[in-house]
Amino acid sequence: MMNLLLKPVSAAWLLLMLATCLSWWLGQDHGLSAAQTSDYRLISSGLMFIAFIKVRIVIRYFMEVRQAPLALKLVCDGWVVLVCGAILYLYWFGLSPVVSVIL
């Protein structure tokens, strides 16, 4: 039992629980959400970023992708980077900059 608790996956789990509590606290209204202030946009971006770090920890340690073939590692990391990047980009800028480049 003791040696199970000392495995990397347990440390990963502890980190995930702490990160969730941090997000929970950050997500509470600290009087910043009344107006869409730029501070709050940074906090929201931070929350998203934390979420995708958690996702990567789940993939690497729970799903054991850190011991998987390189191809699977790359596909998983590609998903994390693309989806997180797209969310943050659209959150800050929307699609209008892309559209204006195309037109």
Binding site: T20, A51, I59
Partner: protein, 190 residues
């Protein structure tokens, strides 16, 4: 490879679909920010956070069970899986309470765009949780059988058996992973 190739095709396919959901949501949110923020303010963040903790704990228990079965000690694996199922059940109960509150307040799928996404995303995810609970029951039965066989899995040769266990576990971790993104996306992002 942690699990069979087939399960990874399924997992990655599911992740791509949900990834597109997330992106579509953020895009439409930007077009009608006021409405999305007002609607989001009615969600109970505590439910979302508690459910994240439930799924994280559940995932950890499953990881411990897999580790135990792999090392052929297996005495702890069925207990870990029962704990994992209890956490899954906790998620289910919180989700039902949350849906019920929303319905009682007259909020449905057609109330507005935010709630439409809220119900579809969390509903599809909830379906994954329910299927996952079935997977956990399967893993638990295999783990119990392994205890009786002094550590040997009852499925084919042990390598194949372990592969099946890992596949089920990976699916459950994916359910956890999707919720980790849904929580800040729907409940927290201002």
């Amino acid at each position: 490879m942690p699990g069979e190739v087939g399960i990874w095709v399924f997992i990655l396919g599911d992740m791509v679909i949900f990834g597109l959901f997330f992106i579509v949501f953020v895009y439409y949110r930007g077009l009608d920010l006021e409405l999305y923020l007002q609607s989001q303010a009615t969600l109970n963040q505590n439910y979302g956070a508690i459910n994240t903790l439930f799924l994280l704990a559940s995932s950890w228990f499953v990881a411990m069970a897999v580790d135990d079965m792999r090392s052929k000690t297996t005495r702890l694996a069925p207990r870990f899986l029962v704990l994992a199922m209890l956490c899954g059940l906790g998620f289910t109960v919180v989700k039902i309470i949350e849906y019920r509150e929303k319905f009682m307040a007259g909020i449905t799928l057609t109330t507005n765009d935010f709630y439409m996404y809220y119900y579809i995303f969390t509903g599809l995810h909830f379906l994954h949780v329910l299927i996952g609970m079935g997977v956990l029951v399967f893993l638990w039965l295999k783990a119990r059988a392994a205890v009786q066989r002094k550590g040997d899995l009852p499925i084919g040769d042990s390598e194949k058996g372990m592969m099946l266990i890992e596949s089920g576990a990976s699916y459950w971790h994916m359910v956890d992973l999707l919720w980790i993104v849904l929580f800040p996306l729907l409940y927290l992002m201002k």
